[in-house]
Symmetry: C2
């Protein structure tokens, strides 16, 4: 009988775990001793912060990295096939969403290892909830091109697509989010609604939706060096 592969979310801000993770989820995390971690160091800090009862050095925390190597997956899943429960943990937020780990989940399904997703914070989902834009049809695009001309063309294409009523969501790394904001205001029409979501669940949480024309004259969002989710709907 195979063990269960839990998908264990973790905090996405400096807020305490109990504000963003259910008691039941923390209880499961504290009972497990086998972890497949995107980043072993951050997973150790997380397990310590939630008071895992086992000394950290006695836990098996294997680092799968940002791009899990295919030829390692069999080894990582072997303890589960032998009956041990384990968890996949990302560096921030929900495993396998805007994040590596999906290949391990796929391999678990192929080997009939039961997969149990657990509730936790997703910046994408929280941004969409808080946007006021259409949450009944939406698309998550990941990262957009970095080079300015390509980025501008892509933003215009995304704006056109959104005219069918589908909210378009994308993310940007902290050091490029300010440039992305300017690119959006330059590329999109004045009536297109744009949401900027920063530091969700954190002390400096910021979520605002405005038409492009209003953004051009509004106070600039505190984007500098902060991870950011952008949403757009023409």
């Amino acid at each position: 009988m195979s063990g269960i592969l839990y998908l264990l979310p973790c905090p996405i801000s400096d807020s305490p775990a109990e504000t963003v993770l259910p008691d039941g989820v923390l209880g499961i995390a504290r009972r497990l001793r086998y972890f497949l971690a995107e980043n072993a160091k951050s997973t150790r800090a997380y397990l310590k912060s939630i008071g895992h009862p086992t000394p950290l050095r006695e836990l098996d925390i294997l680092e799968i990295g940002h791009e899990p190597a295919r030829d390692m997956i069999d080894g990582w899943l072997a303890p589960l096939l032998a009956g041990r429960d384990g968890a996949l943990v990302s560096e921030a937020g929900c495993p396998a969403i805007a994040d590596p780990g999906a290949s391990i989940v796929a391999a678990a399904h192929a080997r009939a290892v039961p997969v149990r997703p657990l509730v936790g914070p997703s910046s994408l989902l929280l941004a969409l909830m808080a946007s006021g834009l259409n949450g009944q049809q939406f698309r998550f695009l990941g990262y957009l091109p970095v080079a300015a001309p390509e980025r501008a063309r892509r933003l215009q294409a995304i704006e056109r697509e959104s005219r069918a009523g589908e909210t378009q969501c994308f993310i940007e790394t902290p050091y490029r989010s300010s440039a992305m904001f300017d690119a959006i205001l330059a590329a999109c029409g004045p009536a297109t609604r744009v949401t900027v979501a920063i530091d969700l669940t954190g002390n400096a949480e910021y979520v605002q939706t405005r038409p492009v024309a209003d953004w051009r004259s509004a106070a600039r969002p505190p984007l500098e060096r902060r991870p950011c989710v952008f949403l757009l709907l023409a």
Copy 2:
């Protein structure tokens, strides 16, 4: 100074609230006395189940319904503008995701009412996490057409679109999910991977991903009269 509009998720199964909602979120819910509810009856049952300290009859629970009337929104937001905190609550899961409520959030932004999304269960997000399909690019399509020929054409179009690597997600009502499953197996190619996710977070939770060819010979998922999330990736 305006009050805060919290977006308060609620359980999506028969499991206890503390298994799917963080302590911090339940604490906020217990402190509020003004609720905009998709369904007032289910919100009352929810607030009772989490031990809201105020007698239910003393809470202001206003029903916004499945399609909130535009001309009511000003009245619903008036207490927030007057400084009172309140929460938008859906019938199940996260407000404004695959769900009404976005128009109220949009109106809050337009009136500079601060919006705070709270963490809770989303069947869509949990299904995507647990699917093993691409969580770095995905699209949520809502409901597909009901009539068989249109549904088949749409499924084939969705399968084609997914060839670019984007996971396609859609939902079906309990009494049609079994017919949708058959339609997918009939419309899609044998190698297309399909996830069926049922009763997420509940006692009868079921999440499986298989190629269409395998689904044709595998044990049928327990779809009858259960809400279901489908995901597809060619």
